[in-house]
């Protein structure tokens, strides 16, 4: 998937969503979400009603990018885990398969140790799902090649309509 568009299908989305929900419960987290390294929100679960997840996703990716830049300057490949501690809420950020960012927001009902432990397990599961997704995209089995593709008959007028 590296170097190409990120594509998500129903089947993998359900698997990812289930794994995020499992992580949320097991880590006693408030919010769990996945972001593409380019800042696109992939999935989110937990207490997201009053949370601006789109902006959080973009800033998370910016954060990871800035930290990655620092790593490079030090001769490190990446810093795979970031942790921000607040008075009430804390954020645990980790990189999966070098492309996807897993974010867990938690408060005093959980602990850094528990979150780290559960994230490690989920990272393996999520890594495998993204591996499967990548294969699907590369082999062209996904819906994108069928008549379901939104691009098949796209016209200039469709785009003009977007702007009213």
């Amino acid at each position: 998937m590296l170097g190409s568009d990120l594509v998500m299908y129903e089947e993998e989305f359900k698997l990812i969503d289930a794994e995020l929900n499992r992580l949320l419960a097991q880590a006693n987290g408030k919010v769990v979400f996945l972001v593409d390294k380019n800042g696109q929100l992939i999935a989110a679960t937990g207490e997201t009603e009053n949370l601006d997840t789109t902006s959080l996703a973009s800033l998370t990716a910016g954060n990871i990018a800035a930290t990655g830049g620092m790593a490079k300057l030090l001769g490190e490949k990446e810093f795979s885990i970031l942790f921000h501690e607040g008075q009430r809420d804390n954020i645990h950020i980790s990189i999966i398969s070098q492309r996807i960012i897993l974010v867990v927001i938690f408060d005093q009902r959980s602990s850094l140790g528990l979150v780290r432990l559960r994230v490690k397990k989920s990272a393996e599961v999520l890594g495998a799902i993204f591996g499967q997704l990548l294969q699907k995209v590369e082999s062209g089995k996904g819906a994108g090649k069928s008549g379901d593709s939104p691009f098949a008959e796209i016209t200039d007028e469709d785009i003009d309509k977007l702007f009213g």
């Binding site: 902006s55 800033l59 785009i159 702007f163």
Partner: protein
Amino acid sequence: MSFINYSSREINCKIVYYGPGLCGKTTNLQYIYKKTNPDSKGKLISLATETERTLFFDFLPLALGEIRGFKTRFHLYTVPGQVFYDASRKLILKGVDGVVFVADSQIERMEANIESIENLRINLAEQGYNLDNVSFVVQYNKRDLPNVVPLDEMKKALNPRGVPDFEAVAPDGTGVFDTLKAVAKLVIMELKKRQESG
């Protein structure tokens, strides 16, 4: 690199506004933010210094509507224009689908424009893109000022490829949406092309 989500039927694309310091990148985003229906925009996030110079990036998510049943979202970013923020600028170009180059039309900023577009070429190349075939639009901003470079001269210096280009006065919105529309069109057509060729 766009994100096509067949599960939630969404297409997300990333557009970056590039250009020299104080050319009006953030002003473009602020105008778009001001004029967009509240339902179709998110917050405008500005990571700026106390003097309102962009430090890392501005970010504006825009939901434009549907194309063939797919919700179409554009994530607009600006880069910090000042020369010494180059490390940050590179990061923001990661995964870009379309680039808008905002040029400052004032005579004394012509050198900065040329330096910035060369910097864009180098930074894109580092991310594996080529300025000559990326979805690209040029905006000649600040056309209302008295000391501007003639349009044909600017075209010659900044747009030899002949990509879509627009004159603009970003604070009053002149040319702002034309620029956005043009880059959005190029990005979506490029996506279509890529999907078709597999």
